[in-house]
Symmetry: D2
Subunit: 328 residues, 4 copies
């Protein structure tokens, strides 16, 4: 049992979280005023090197469709995106728009939770006992007016760098290509995946790591079911030191919640989030569609690429929808 | 008078639009089923070449902030984005969230017009006498359910390529760096800007051209005023053939409406849109913040870069907010 | 079989609808410009008489709660209401609001379909072969800008009058108090209910009739299930002439869709709506909670009361949430 | 100077608010668990008497239109209502809806602040030094999840009773019919208005008082200007004891903010709210359109009527849009 192997008692999440938080804390590492955490680990030189990885120029979107057919079922008021029209082509054809010289238009609006589909979690998204990233008090950071300190707008230009795909689904389950729900990906799994995929998948400082579990492949085939919050493969709580030691800039998965569910403690709710967001300052992506990318990487045996995954510049947001682009 | 020079009668927009539409039409060029227009002009090789332009690795976001301090004033129900919280740090600190082991969270939603701030116009955004891109009927394309044919999701992975900045503000008004409202940028202006900026600003097939007028610089200094729909510098209606001949993939400006306002006909409403979207299939960006990019380009005398400007993958949308990234 | 008894062929909905529409049409009855249909049948004298029905002064709300625990499941983008806070008490206590002299505040917003819960259907809600109420073309009435002719704002002051409860659930199923899903309430059922309930439930000109099936009682007990659009008890298509002949002003039920589901034709979708809204001009209420009212009426054996059910004055709406008040 | 006359120092709002709060407090009056405050003062007998006031049956809506032409300008993210269509008549005519047998439909959604237009303030809307109605802590009442204790749903069936119009505009300014911005209505003004209007305007226990200043009349004529938050006539802070002594159930005005603006202290923000909502438990209505009602009352010299002003039953809301109906 991984958690026990690492010395954690599954019946005592508080102690495990506290110990791990101390071990992986980056508080103060980038100064008292820091608002972007591990995104500091990508510098311009790293971005230039990442751009040099581009070979074929193939551009792959890692975004799910944003529409009413998404996975949300209302948990904590999270709905699927509601997209409605302000003007339409039927109106234009009917001649009711009142514009001159035959011009007609269509226009639209959207109402959506910022974390309804393919997304980044901002640093203000999760707190540990009232503490936010870099040791601030949660209530000093995120009020009803939004995140006044670490809002996602701070990351607007930063999430561009070397992307690395770790296809745990294909690696651990070569036949199915999918991890089963409840499978906790361990640090050893990550290492063996890297070893198997070869040198283009080495993970280092400033990398944006994308972990494919295959759960989304299954949801696409079988229906969403409880994809939003139910059982899922994902990272084990015990991977926190691994993530910290490698100095990655960001990480994303093809699941709703990044970490394994049910979580490894009892009771528990997203304990790995509780450590890596407020203590490590790690930006996490969720519900990324990694299937096309995984096929391309498998075909070329190259698992590194230029990743540009710019969040919307929403002032004070604690998360953002994103259309991540992998440029191969 | 430019329009007259090109043989257009400013009192007869219908005739000018029809003649220009015929001259620049791309209908059928990429087959009957095409849904992305000039974005076809970026291929993988072009993307690979664009990636090779990256030198310093500097990453610049061309997005305005998305918040209530934006330019919208309610025209055709366009508001500024309304961002509200589902959960907050003050709640987390107050201990009212009901999660176990000290985890707390913040979460948020947004309601916004898709064209409220930095954005792409999709191909379903504008019609000419009931005709949409590629000759389809507007009502067959965009209904209340959205754009069922040319929705912005079709462009999700495509808008990555060589970006070129044409800084008309600095070029034509070296002292102020800003064009005056109502100034119509001509094809000759574009050519002289390219000549003055040098070979890194040559415009060719598949390029994503960004035109800085300086109006946004002024709005930032003086307040939004009538930025959303009022007088503005912008492209002249007469530039349509220039845009067509160069086979650009997309174009964006730092103004609300891309083209000069007041428009060059009387009466008129966005006649250049009426030609280049439904007839040429051109994707247009608006309200892009080009000031930081312009400073960087001026400093380095290099006006080309890798541009990644992926729209949100909103099914059936006729536009999308975007955080365009220029990688220098 | 009721439909057949009335001479309708269940395999030919078009013919049945056309014949019934002719029989019950009110087109022109209140002039060419009419925008409120049968609401014309309530006049001030009727309202004064209705007020005189008040005995005990008991006030009963017939509204469901508006929240995320509602029946909607996403059909045609209908969600449950999403209510979010702009300011909170936790913020006020945390002292982050910036107001003087100790004042603090909470404020909120809502995003919701106008027909997500207890509601009125406006006259622009349903069309028959492109025809709207009073013989107008649907496209001349309701565009993307809303209902420019028969918007719900026209009814803002009108829906006040004599209410009559017909408790079909108790009448037809005295033990259960609930009609089974798929039960089509016939004109004979309505008449026998009136006869059984006694003279206070006589239905006449200008009345606002509320029909309790008991389905909501069941949904409250067993969960929403397919309440929103699934099988339900409701009025038979064959009741249209009965509704017309009695000159009622409006009618409401405790079900999602007013009429029996599955509908009585094959294929069919809400054929009674197709007749009574565009042809009769009848205002229909849905998802009304009639249980408390039903208990009060049963206890007093009085089934008439003052009904005030004012829609929100939303310009151009084709429906409105409502909190109907029965004053007994 | 009224404030001084009452012994208040305009430079010391804290002291004045504290003293007045003590004087008018209703904490505990209706038990520890009370969630509706002065609405307790309307009982069924009062409602029955109110219904007996109805003479002509004239029904008057006191609601403004809910649309984009409203007064909001973005203060604290308050917008005007954004009403969009899910389905339209143009679509129905175009035959694109996919329904059988010729039925077509229109449907719509709304996104709006609950206090964007004609509205009730709920008891969770305002706090005094972190204290909410009945002595609760603000953070124990209103979180990001809404008002869990005194949500507007508690008032769903209660706001039906005797309405009394006090037309201060006509009374104090017989020629103009409108009070000037900044005019503070005093208790003496209220008394003299009642005396002038005659016995039908006597104010007593359980009454719903509507105070017309005429500012809305002016805004309708001259444009909204700073109606939302700017200078306005309104109740003086010094009227709190008057409101308390008369045991009214609720009060509403035709202004944005109920009380005079600029407020009577320096600095100040809505000090009368700070006293009457959390301490007195008074439900306040704002932005009510009283002009038609005022004309009717003036014509008949009767200022009392049945008032039904049911808020939407939005769970946890701290305010609600409302369409108040006066039945004369």
């Amino acid at each position: 049992m991984l958690v026990q192997a690492a010395g954690f008692d599954p019946r005592d999440p508080e102690a495990a979280i506290a110990a791990t938080a101390r071990a992986v804390s980056n508080w103060g590492r980038w100064g008292e005023d820091d608002a972007v955490g591990t995104l500091n680990l990508i510098d311009d030189r790293a971005r230039a090197r990442a751009a040099a990885l581009v070979r074929t120029g193939e551009s792959i979107s890692l975004s799910l469709p944003f529409d009413m057919d998404g996975p949300q079922k209302g948990w904590r008021r999270r709905t699927n995106p509601v997209h409605t029209m302000l003007d339409t082509g039927t109106d234009a054809e009917a001649g009711v728009q009142g514009f001159p010289h035959g011009i007609g238009g269509a226009d639209d609006v959207i109402a959506m939770p910022l974390q309804c589909s393919t997304q980044w979690d901002g640093l203000g998204h999760i707190f540990d006992h009232g503490a936010a990233w870099n040791g601030r008090r949660a209530g000093d950071v995120v009020t009803s007016l939004g995140d006044g300190v670490t809002g996602i707008e701070n990351a607007a230009s930063l999430i561009t760098g070397r992307g690395v795909l770790l296809d745990l689904g294909r690696h651990l389950r070569p036949d199915a290509g999918e991890l089963e729900d409840g499978y906790a990906i361990s640090a050893a799994d990550l290492d063996s995946c890297i070893a198997a995929q070869g040198p283009t998948s080495t993970v280092g400082a400033g990398d944006i790591v994308v972990v494919r579990t295959g759960q989304l492949t299954r949801a696409r085939r079988d229906g969403w079911g409880d994809y939003a919050g139910g059982a899922a493969p994902g990272l084990s709580f015990t991977t926190a030191p691994w993530l910290h030691a490698r100095n990655i800039a960001a990480i994303a998965t093809d699941t709703w919640g990044f970490e394994v569910r049910p979580n490894e403690f009892e009771p528990a709710f997203q304990p790995l989030h509780q450590v890596v967001i407020p203590h490590m300052g790690l930006t996490i992506g969720e519900m990324w569609d990694l299937d096309t990318l995984a096929e391309a990487c498998a075909a070329s045996s190259r698992y590194e690429f230029l990743m540009v995954a710019a969040p919307l510049r929403i002032t004070g947001a604690v998360g953002s929808p994103v259309n991540p682009i992998a440029l191969l």
